[in-house]
């Protein structure tokens, strides 16, 4: 049978960012795939070496627009760990609140895009409408919707004070109500199931050996979540990873859906338990030696490595973003699927290409 090779992307209605998949098809069936990246490289690792180390927070935040707070948190926790700075407990709780809010808004964005990729437009709109509540909460508490810039080395810059807290709780209640109307549609709807169940199967052992992370891995039955390592205060909040055993697109979707529910609970719990106290400690020294940290992003585990030499500049900052290790999974998921399922399967790893290429 004749084989046809053609590009899917970089500009494709279903892809939120520019990635190209070179698909080889026999009739309607995909037999080979080669992901091609390189449309969005910005040289952030190089720029990080030229910046003063506190200024790198703002640079790291711009690695990804969706999980910007968690990038900043990761960088701050890394430098704090290298300099042995102890962050005040209130700041740790606030970091959890904002990172979980980021996670919710990232997952809601993704759920909307998934609905869009199989053509369920009204569900897409519904998801993004619910996400708006979270973005408003972020703007109310930190000052900006997407790039929060509220994490600094030694603590946080903004507070959720007593005036603001009831507002946040109200927003979370409003969001929970919206979520209640969306959840059953994703979980039980006939058309959604038809497009996701059994599509893009990533077997349990391959998910592990290919190095996938985050919901892609947890959808294949591995309870692997960097939040269990206990950065910030996740261990005090009784965090448990969400696991599904389906190994297909539906399982990955359910992981994210259930994580949204869990994150809302974590936010409320963190607000309940938040201690009083300072927001920052003063940091005087410079980073020295080597540091390595793993933090859980909406898309998976983020690994950051830094090497300092006792000056205000870092010698090397390495960021391994989650999508970087999830892209090889496409090599297993896509071959054998139908051409019409390519968008759904590609979306199911939640590709964040700007992250990947930095």
């Amino acid at each position: 049978m004749a084989r046809v090779t053609f590009p899917f992307g970089p500009q494709h209605p279903v892809l939120p960012e520019a990635i190209q998949l070179q698909l080889t098809c026999e009739d309607e069936r995909v037999v080979e795939v080669l992901p091609v990246i390189g449309y969005m490289h910005r040289g952030i690792e190089k720029a990080a070496e030229a910046n003063l180390y506190p200024n790198n927070i703002f640079l790291c935040e711009r690695i990804c627009g969706i999980c910007s707070f968690i990038h900043a948190l990761c960088y701050c926790e890394l430098i704090e760990g290298m300099m042995r700075v102890e962050v005040p407990p209130r700041a740790k709780y606030l970091r959890v609140v904002w990172s979980e809010l980021s996670r919710i808004h990232s997952h809601m964005l993704w759920l909307g895009l998934l609905a869009d990729s199989f053509g369920f437009e009204s569900l897409f709109m519904q998801c993004w409408r619910a996400r708006e509540i979270i973005l408003d909460t972020l703007e109310m508490t930190t000052g900006q919707r997407v790039i929060q810039s509220s994490c600094v080395i030694g603590g946080v810059r903004r507070d959720i004070d007593l005036d603001m807290e009831p507002g946040v709780r109200r927003q979370m209640a409003a969001f929970q109500k919206e979520l209640k109307s969306i959840y059953p549609v994703f979980a039980k709807d006939y058309t959604v199931k038809l497009r996701t169940v059994g599509k893009g199967v990533l077997p349990r052992d391959q998910a592990w050996s290919l190095g996938t992370v985050g919901p892609t891995l947890r959808g294949s039955g591995w309870a692997d979540d960097a939040r269990t390592l206990g950065y910030a205060v996740y261990d005090d909040l009784g965090f448990e990873p969400v696991v599904e055993i389906g190994c297909d697109s539906y399982a990955r979707m359910m992981v994210r859906l259930r994580e949204v529910v869990q994150s809302v609970e974590l936010v409320i719990k963190a607000l309940d338990q938040m201690p009083e106290g300072d927001l920052t400690v003063t940091v005087k020294s410079f980073p020295e030696g080597e540091g390595l940290i793993r933090v859980e992003q909406p898309r998976g585990e983020l690994v950051e490595y830094a090497r300092g030499n006792g000056t205000a500049y870092l010698e090397r900052l390495k960021v391994r973003t989650p999508t970087f290790s999830n892209i090889p999974a496409l090599l297993v998921m896509l071959p054998g699927c139908e051409l019409a399922d390519v968008p759904v399967i590609t979306m199911s790893i939640d590709p964040c290409i700007a992250c990947t290429e930095r």
Partner: protein, 132 residues
């Protein structure tokens, strides 16, 4: 609580020839590839390989090599490493051989961009076409 500071002395340092055997051993124990980090410690490269055991623990492995030495690719054992190896080859000019998927140093950079941008001491740029 995870340990952020890395103790350099605690990691095994091996030569490029011994790499494949070590990685095979780790892979047979069920470890998987997390990432690799290249450092330009002029006049050498130090490459840190990070692997993850089936628990959440990270195993570190350091390879020291001269700048013109060849490094075998581990992508035949753990396919997940292939993108990172391409990136390191592109950003540092480390000679990595036997890549499973070879982007020929054009994965993230283009012909017109600065070549090997992360090297501390850069060889004289050859101005071909568009320049820097």
């Amino acid at each position: 609580m995870q340990q952020v500071r890395v103790d350099r002395g605690a990691d095994p340092v091996i030569s490029p020839d011994a790499l494949l055997k070590e990685v095979e051993l780790l892979a047979s124990e069920g470890a998987r590839f997390t990432t690799m980090i290249c450092l330009d410690l002029d006049p050498e490269f130090e490459i840190i390989y990070l692997f993850q055991k089936p628990t959440l623990d990270v195993v570190r492995l350091r390879v020291r090599m001269a700048k013109d030495e060849e490094l075998p690719s581990i992508s035949s054992i753990l396919l997940g490493a292939v993108l990172m190896e391409n990136e390191i080859r592109e950003f540092f000019g480390v000679k990595i051989i036997n890549l499973a998927i070879d982007f020929k140093c054009r994965m993230l950079l283009s012909e017109k961009s600065l070549q090997m941008p992360l090297l501390k001491v850069r060889p004289k740029p050859k101005l071909t076409g568009g320049g820097e």
